[in-house]
């Protein structure tokens, strides 16, 4: 029996004996995808956030790669920071974080990008009122830890990007 899943569109299969290995270790060791960051390793800081789509759910969900065993991603499509935008392009939220100086050391950034992208995708498919936006952002990103910049610039960049999306939907 094997565990099958896709990472950034690439099919991956591992033997069942590796079912309890953590997703982050697989990304780092097997795929050499080190953009997903390990910080606490116990699912608190959310630096290791990746995006997961797994039937029957159609929407992406943030999961914490440091604490997700491989058996849990069987049949799923995983997107990491390396797969957010094709080639050398940047997703709008990456561009916003970059232009707004949202981070300093940047180690928490991939986790923020992934969580924010999932939020923005949700807003694009199910728009909310602008007045609810702050709460939506806090709900999606409030658990992430940033030690350098103090959240203000992350918050502002996500909000401005979300407002663009909502304006396009109105």
């Amino acid at each position: 029996m094997t565990i099958g899943f896709a990472v950034n569109g690439v099919a991956c299969n591992v033997g069942d004996e590796r079912r309890d290995e953590k997703l982050i270790d697989f990304l780092h060791e097997d795929l050499n995808l080190t953009g997903t960051k390990l910080c606490c390793g116990i699912a608190i800081c959310r630096a290791c956030t990746v995006s997961l789509k797994k039937p029957p759910n159609r929407d992406a969900t943030p999961i914490l790669a440091c604490s997700t065993p491989l058996w849990m991603v069987n049949g799923a499509k995983v997107t990491t920071i390396e797969g957010v935008a094709p080639g050398d392009s940047l997703a709008p939220i990456q561009d916003a974080f970059l232009k707004d100086f949202s981070f300093q050391c940047g180690y928490c950034t991939p986790g923020f990008v992934m969580a924010a992208q999932i939020l923005l995708d949700h807003l694009a498919s199910a728009p909310r009122k602008p007045v609810d936006l702050d709460a939506q952002i806090e709900s999606a990103l409030g658990g992430h830890i940033c030690r350098c910049t103090g959240y203000v610039r992350y918050f502002e960049a996500v909000k401005s990007t979300a407002e663009i999306i909502l304006r396009g939907k109105s």
């Binding site: 270790d25 060791e29 050499n32 995808l33 080190t34 953009g35 997903t36 960051k37 390990l38 910080c39 606490c40 390793g41 116990i42 608190i44 800081c45 630096a47 990491t80 920071i81 390396e82 957010v84 935008a85 940047l90 990456q94 974080f97 970059l98 232009k99 707004d100 100086f101 981070f103 300093q104 050391c105 940047g106 180690y107 928490c108 950034t109 991939p110 990008v113 806090e138 990103l141 409030g142 658990g143 992430h144 830890i145 940033c146 030690r147 350098c148 910049t149 103090g150 959240y151 203000v152 610039r153 992350y154 918050f155 502002e156």
Partner: protein, 932 residues
């Protein structure tokens, strides 16, 4: 990705003298990455403007960047098969360590090797620390270092680290977390299996003898200790700064007695506010746990390290003392360090023991590269901490509001390894005088060796503790005397000519009155009574607090060095000794040359400490300034606080030298106008143009072509030294003498890269008195905090923070505000959330992580950047620069943080009428205070 692809050219070597000969030290910097500016960025290409952080694109796309991202397979030229290292850590300081017991390990988890302390020679087991940095800033320190140097390494300015890296079997560990064994695993599977089996089960794998009570005797302070006695009264001006070392030491007891006599004899006229505070140890909690690779290339006698350190120079020097000792069985001719940008640092990677632990593993791995990677539990257990502190003393004030005396004893917990903690205590002793004129001071500050996790530097470097002491005391005085807290401060504000508690002048425009003016005008302060009433009407308890700090940056003697290179296409690369962890320094340095050279630097190579070796200068504690090769200090601290003032200065002066020595001569040749002067030209739309408009504008590419074809210099290396002022010199460049605030200048040949040193003449010497002034440059900041406290649960919510900062010239506004916002968040954590007990109740147990250690999250921090009534915000107000700033910035990375804790405590006092003087102010302490 191959590591070589992200590295710049290998830095030039420098050589370290050891007991057994020279060891070459080479720094390879992956920070040498291109500052790509994207075409769709509106600010791209504007000289002096940063469109984003250098390296931001790598960070936002998850490219390999940090040390943790790299494996041996990524590094060109290394064996691909990688081993793994794991240290076992002491769990007691009362019983002798005897041995390890691996019998409980599963067979698939067995280490390939077990190394104990008796497998190491003495110099490797307890390396001599090399004093190469900001340790030696004062004559007291110098005398101390010279005494220690006489005892170690034949006078190489070294001192013992204070404990063994690995405990010898039979010896009792001297601190919790001290290494007792090094395990090496030849496969990842075995390493992981062992970690699973051993985590939280230390006692099952370590064998100790019976309780022997541990180390005898009272705790010993790390040297040097700090004593500042100041008596500026009755026509006398006794202080540390106004006496030489011997006279000061001889007379300090006398003046201490005079202070006591004065206070006693004027008891009736004075008000004495006792001070008793304590602050906790704090983990820097940088996001990337320390990780590194180490490879001993035995054939080449080379040790290669890849990690992210804030102190590459000191680290390499200390490693050279390990393997360059006469008893070392490992012979090295070179140490090569690839220094990756750290994923956060805050001082926690400054002289971190991790580097030594990493260096130790490779020689035992049979030629394999070894990966040492802390997980977060390890990082809490082993990583440097902000030392906890206890402060007792008093602030005395006259009936006219004039501060009379500060008396303070400040004891820091330095932990089990000597690090920067004595120097943290030293700066705290200066800072506890605050931003005020105080005629008398009696201050003792020291770092005590203990059995706890080593304490080192951390953002603030003693400032947060010191300002917590004086700024809460001032509010207590104001409350006791029914004085307005701002009026009390205003009555005592320091000016540039005011003597600090050390006795030297502040020596820099402070603008504290303006800061207080803006405070009084800010609605958060001006309307505080209304705000309190509004919250009260909703059943909430609200308070407002204020605190002021004047945090010093740099040391009293700072050397900085930078090189500017111009390639054949006209692209600029800056090399700097500055060590960067957030790329703010590199970003700033890349843009500050823009106005001078017409374009921002395309690349910045940070952490290149080999630069000083290229200057030809010799650093001496007693420099001969008439000798053009003499300077006082090569390079110094890695602090981010050095960027805005010190590092920007040397880069800009070096850029000016390049303009004069290469750009302008090239333009003269192209224009065939040999007498065009610096004042005759300007950069217009990225081209060098004649101000009169009568000459063809020149592109950088064309200028580069002329430089290389005519053999003009393709680069310049500048060294600067600051001690109360910049050393200046006259340099003969392109046939003319030019005055620069540099003390060393070298030109690089465009033909072969060779160096041509220009000797300094007409030296403008540094301010001699500044050497004993402790610090002479400052970043004053006030914070107003508005908070709500829940009387039933004791929880505190920070509603608003307004920070008023004198940052001087702001080079990159986004970086200044980012530093401010990050500092506010970290200080909120320090004041309210982050707590760790000493001993095995704390992270030394190996069982601590973020489930126990709570750092601020988005909800804990106001995250709007403009104050608006009814909303939560943290607003930064920077004073507009003045002519006295001369276009210079100030080191602000710590400034905003320093007065947050007292402002919060003062706000709680306003809200609840209770003084909270023990950090962190947890809900339990709040409730306890309410019950008293």
């Amino acid at each position: 990705m191959d590591l070589e692809n992200i590295t710049g050219p290998i830095a030039r070597r420098t050589f370290l003298r050891t007991a057994t000969g020279l060891i070459a030290a080479t720094i390879v910097s992956p920070g040498a990455v291109q500052a790509k500016e994207r075409s769709n960025d509106s600010k791209a290409g504007r000289p002096g403007v940063a469109p984003h952080l250098i390296d931001a694109r790598k960070k936002v796309t998850g490219a390999k960047f940090y040390a943790r991202d790299f494996y041996a397979r990524d590094v060109k030229g290394w064996p691909k098969e990688q081993w793994y290292a794991l240290y076992l850590c002491a769990t007691t300081t009362r019983r002798p360590f005897l041995d390890v017991n691996m019998s409980g390990l599963p067979s698939d988890a067995m280490p390939a090797k077990v190394i104990l302390g008796n497998n190491l020679t003495a110099s490797i087991r307890a390396p001599a620390l090399r004093y190469t940095r900001d340790f030696m800033v004062e004559q007291t320190s110098l005398a101390h270092i010279q005494r220690e140097a006489a005892l170690t390494l034949g006078g190489r300015f070294s001192s013992p680290i204070g404990a063994d890296l690995l405990v010898k079997p039979g010896a009792t560990p001297t601190f919790l977390g001290q290494g007792v064994a090094l395990l090496l695993f030849s496969t990842l599977a075995a390493y992981r299996a062992a970690r699973r089996a051993m985590q939280f089960r230390d006692d099952d794998f370590q064998v100790y003898g019976p309780d022997n009570g541990g180390a005898p005797g009272a705790p010993v302070p790390y040297s040097p200790q700090t004593q500042y006695v100041k008596y500026f009264r009755d026509g006398e001006n006794f202080s540390y700064a106004t006496r030489d070392d011997n006279a000061y030491k001889q007379s300090a007891p006398t003046y201490r007695a005079k202070i006591i006599d004065y206070l006693k004899s004027h008891e009736g006229e004075l008000f004495r506010q006792p001070v008793t505070l304590d602050t906790q140890a704090m983990d820097p909690m940088f996001m990337e746990p320390e990780t590194g690779l180490s490879w001993h290339n035995k054939d080449a006698q080379r040790l290669e390290l890849l990690l992210g350190t804030q102190s590459p120079d000191g680290d390499i020097a200390t490693i050279s003392s390990m393997f360059g000792a006469t008893d070392s069985p490992i012979k090295l001719t070179e140490i090569r360090l690839t220094n990756c940008p750290p994923g956060g640092a805050f001082g926690g990677r400054d002289a971190s023991p991790f580097t030594l632990l990493l260096a130790l593993v490779a020689p035992f791995a049979e030629g394999h590269p070894v990966r040492l990677m802390h997980d977060r539990f390890d990082q809490f257990r082993l990583g440097l901490k902000r030392p906890g502190a206890k402060m007792t003393g008093a602030i005395t004030v006259g009936s006219d509001m004039s501060l009379q005396c500060v008396q303070m004893t400040m004891n820091f917990n330095g932990g089990g390894l000597k690090n920067l903690s004595p120097y943290v205590a030293n700066l705290a002793a200066l800072a506890v005088g605050g931003a005020y004129a105080i005629p008398m001071a009696s201050i003792d500050a020291q770092s005590m060796q203990s059995q706890d996790i080593p304490g080192g530097s951390q953002r603030g470097f003693g400032g947060p503790e010191a300002f917590f002491a004086i700024e809460t005391a001032l509010d207590d005085i104001a409350a006791a005397k029914s004085w307005d807290p701002l009026a009390l401060r205003r009555a005592n504000l320091a000016q540039s000519t005011t003597a600090t508690v050390v006795g030297g002048q502040f020596n820099q425009e402070l603008r504290l009155n303006e800061i207080l003016d803006k405070t009084e005008a800010h609605p958060l302060w001006a309307q505080r009574a209304n705000l309190k009433a509004e919250f009260a009407a909703r059943g909430e308890t609200y308070g407002t607090g204020f605190a002021l700090s004047a945090q010093a940056y740099g040391t009293s003697a700072d050397g900085v060095v930078a090189a500017i290179h111009f390639d054949k296409n006209g692209s600029i690369t800056i090399r700097t000794d500055a060590v960067d962890f957030g790329n703010g320094s590199s970003t700033t340095l890349s843009v500050v040359v823009g106005p001078i050279l017409g374009v921002n630097a395309q690349a910045v190579v940070a952490g290149d400490y080999t630069l000083f070796g290229q200057t030809g200068l010799a650093a001496s504690y007693t420099p001969d300034w008439d000798n053009p090769l003499s300077t006082a200090k090569g390079v110094g601290s890695s602090s981010a606080c050095l960027t805005g003032f010190h590092q920007v200065h040397v880069v800009q002066e070096t850029a000016r030298a390049f303009m004069q020595s290469a750009i302008l001569p090239a333009a003269r040749l192209l224009w065939n106008r040999p007498h065009v002067a610096y004042e005759d030209v300007a950069w217009v739309e990225g081209r060098l143009s004649a101000k009169r408009g009568d000459l063809e504008p020149l592109t950088h590419a064309r200028l580069a072509q002329a430089i290389y074809s005519h053999g003009l210099p393709s680069g310049v290396l500048g060294h600067a030294f600051f001690q109360g002022g910049w050393v200046s010199g006259s340099y003969a460049i392109a046939g003319s003498p030019i005055t620069l605030e540099l003390d060393g200048l070298t030109l690089y040949s465009s033909a072969d890269g060779g160096r041509n040193r220009i000797d300094r003449t007409k030296t403008g010497k540094p301010l001699a008195s500044a050497l004993r002034s402790s610090r002479t440059v400052w970043a004053p900041c006030a914070n107003i905090v508005g908070l709500v406290v829940d009387r039933s649960t004791g929880t505190v919510r920070i509603e608003n923070v307004a920070s008023i900062l004198n940052a001087g010239h702001v080079h990159v506004p986004e970086l200044v505000s980012g530093q401010s916002q990050g500092g506010v968040a970290m200080a909120i954590g320090y004041t309210l959330l982050e707590d760790m007990p000493d001993g095995l109740a704390g992270p030394a147990s190996g069982a601590w992580n973020l489930n126990r250690y709570h750092v601020p999250r988005m909800a804990d921090v106001p995250h709007r950047s403009r104050y608006k009534r009814g909303h939560r915000a943290q607003e930064l107000i920077t004073l507009p620069e003045t002519p006295q700033d001369s276009g210079r910035g100030r080191g602000i990375a710590e400034a905003v943080m320093c007065s947050i804790a007292p402002a919060i405590s003062n706000a709680l006092r306003d809200a609840l009428g209770v003084r909270y003087s023990s950090l962190p102010i947890t809900p339990a302490k709040i409730l306890s205070g309410l019950q008293q």
